[in-house]
């Protein structure tokens, strides 16, 4: 295998926006096999839009997105999902009124074999035993942390190669943030490459291999997570307090 095949996701010169407003003004991102890469930045910097554009929920106006070498720019979101790039959107999007199990089944919709679906659900239950316990409960009545597990579990039902996580720690108590990050780490160790958007830069950089800092639709800075952790300007601007 050449070094190039190690790049799972490659984003070049990506531009996108809503109506008149350009949210992304040329983004370049690379995600390699086995990595966790994090996107940092203030509110409105374009982190969520970047994820949405990669997963096809927002149309790219310029630039290319390659998944495992294949150009997926402009491909409909549902097809991108079936190619192995799964987006866990901000706010978790748990389906209210449906049970935990039904929520998980949504994740395996594209899988036609009932046998495979069942096996995948067992794997998710192994990873998140609490979901197994609660599988008959309304998914929207779970606690925030459990809902996050459900959202990630649902994404895992698709056996993704690349996972886009948008603010998995949002709205969670500090203890649960740590818990969630441990799960992210575990998913990564199990072989999923992850592009992680986080408001909580300190936590994200502890986890990630590499990081990008976004500012008003552009990459302001990029480096290994280790270097970014040491950079005082980052600390000031995004680690705040």
């Amino acid at each position: 295998m050449s070094a190039g095949s190690d790049i799972l996701l490659q984003v070049e010169g990506l531009e996108a926006g809503y109506a008149e407003i350009k949210a992304l003004l040329g983004i370049d991102i690379e995600l390699r096999r086995g990595q966790i890469v994090t996107l940092l930045g203030a509110n409105g910097a374009g982190k969520t839009t970047t994820l949405k554009t990669i997963s096809g929920l927002v149309r790219a106006t310029r630039g290319t997105i390659r998944l495992m070498g294949e150009d997926i720019t402009g491909t409909p979101a549902h097809q991108i999902a079936r190619m192995g790039l799964v987006h866990v959107p901000e706010g978790r999007h748990i389906l209210r009124g449906l049970t935990v199990q039904e929520n998980l089944e949504l994740g395996a919709f594209a899988e036609r074999s009932a046998e495979t679906r069942r096996r995948q659900m067992d794997e998710v239950f192994d990873l998140f035993p609490i979901l197994k316990e609660r599988r008959k409960q309304d998914g929207s009545l779970l606690s925030g942390g459990e809902q996050q597990m459900l959202a990630m579990g649902r994404a895992l039902m698709q056996k993704p190669k690349v996972l886009l996580l948008d603010e998995p720690s949002m709205g969670l108590a500090p203890k649960l943030v740590t818990e969630t990050m441990k799960i992210v780490k575990r998913l990564n160790e199990a072989g999923t490459s992850i592009l992680l958007v986080e408001q909580n830069a300190r936590v994200a950089l502890r986890l990630a291999d590499y990081g990008y800092v976004l500012e008003t639709g552009r990459i302001r800075m990029e480096n290994t997570a280790e270097k970014l952790r040491e950079d005082s300007s980052i600390i000031e601007a995004y680690l705040g307090e």
């Binding site: 979101a77 799964v86 959107p89 999007h93 009124g97 049970t99 949504l106 919709f109 009545l141 698709q158």
Partner: protein
């Protein structure tokens, strides 16, 4: 040629039902009792038997009313696919009803076709109109969708009123009653049985659709479009399938409505018709098949039962509907316990 695959695994669907019920809700217990396959089948067999024996007991008048109620069952189950299952608003559902009725009317009257031969053409016409209405509305949400579908309903009605081929304002009359194996379907009782068959078919199709892959896709898209799409569901195809399925139900109702009455006019397919069907669906409980059937019967039988009240009956009926919606805002039929 519906774009769905039936993977009806009732047992698994049963298994997914949340178990605990609140004992105080008697109606929920009724539903639970109903939910058991054996009792459900028993109840269904009983209802079918009652329907079959009906005309031996009913007066001619009641038979005609019941036929109308069964027609509404078909229409309401069709609209339920669009509104209840897929969560798309449709204020012009009568248009599909009209497409079915007029296609059959035109082909048999103006072109001398055999009635049965006209059915597939009418269904294709309905499916195409489902795509026509579905296509542009896919990107719209709630209120815009309401306006577009309402407009579509009116366009169909106005076209029927102004085209020569549809008989303009006076409509088409003298539509031949169909023959089947040398038997002419012509009496009120004959048509009653035709509609019994159609309604039972519509119920079975609805149940199987709900359990199918496309049924699950509708469920997910209705709950959260973005999550569904992020999980690999083609929302455009799924919504179009809902409109097309609904259109086919509507057309089936329209086809047999046309031959039953022998005459159709644009006013049979007015906005009020669409609203009435939608009302039945909402009243019974969107998405719940037994509820929708109940809604259809209430909408048709309600005003008839109140006939003694004379002029006041529609007022009383309306007040009754309002009270139901006040006390059971998500429809008469109970939802799943949470």
């Amino acid at each position: 040629m519906l774009p769905f695959k039936t993977a009806a695994r009732r047992a698994e669907a049963q298994d997914n039902d949340p178990a605990p019920a609140r004992p105080l809700a008697g109606i929920t217990q009724l539903q639970q009792w109903f939910g058991r396959p054996a009792t459900f089948r028993g109840a269904m067999a009983g209802i079918v038997l009652l329907l079959i024996l009906g005309p031996f007991v009913f007066s001619q008048y009641i038979t005609v009313i019941m036929t109308n109620a069964l027609l509404y069952v078909v229409l309401c189950l069709g609209l339920n696919v669009v509104v209840g299952k897929a969560g798309l608003l449709d204020l012009g559902y009568a248009a599909f009803f009209a497409v079915g009725a007029y296609t059959t009317g035109i082909l048999t009257l103006q072109f001398g076709w055999n009635f049965w031969a006209s059915i597939p053409v009418a269904l294709v016409a309905a499916a195409i109109s489902g795509v026509i209405i579905g296509g542009p509305t896919l990107r719209l949400r709630s209120d815009y969708l309401a306006i577009v579908t309402l407009g579509f309903g009116e366009i169909v009605r106005f076209s029927a009123r102004n085209l020569e081929i549809t008989g303009a304002a006076s409509g088409l009359s003298g539509i031949q009653q169909p023959r089947l194996f040398g038997w002419t379907i012509d009496s009120a009782v004959d048509f009653y049985y035709v509609f019994v068959v159609l309604a039972i078919g519509a119920v079975i199709a609805s149940i199987r659709l709900s359990d199918s892959r496309i049924g699950r896709a509708w469920l997910y898209v209705r709950h959260d479009e973005d999550a569904a799409e992020a999980m690999g569901i083609n929302r455009v195809a799924v919504k179009l399938a809902a409109y097309v399925t609904g259109a086919i139900y509507g057309a089936i109702g329209g086809i047999f409505f046309a031959v039953n009455l022998g005459a159709i006019s644009p006013e049979s397919f007015s906005f009020e018709q669409s609203v009435l069907i939608l009302m039945a669906v909402i009243l019974g409980g969107m998405g719940k098949i037994p509820g929708v059937i109940l809604g259809a019967f209430i909408i048709v039988l309600g005003p008839e039962l109140l006939r003694d009240l004379g002029e006041l009956r529609l007022l009383v009926f309306a007040i009754g509907l309002l009270l139901i919606m006040l006390f059971r805002p998500s429809g008469i039929w109970p939802g799943r316990t949470q």
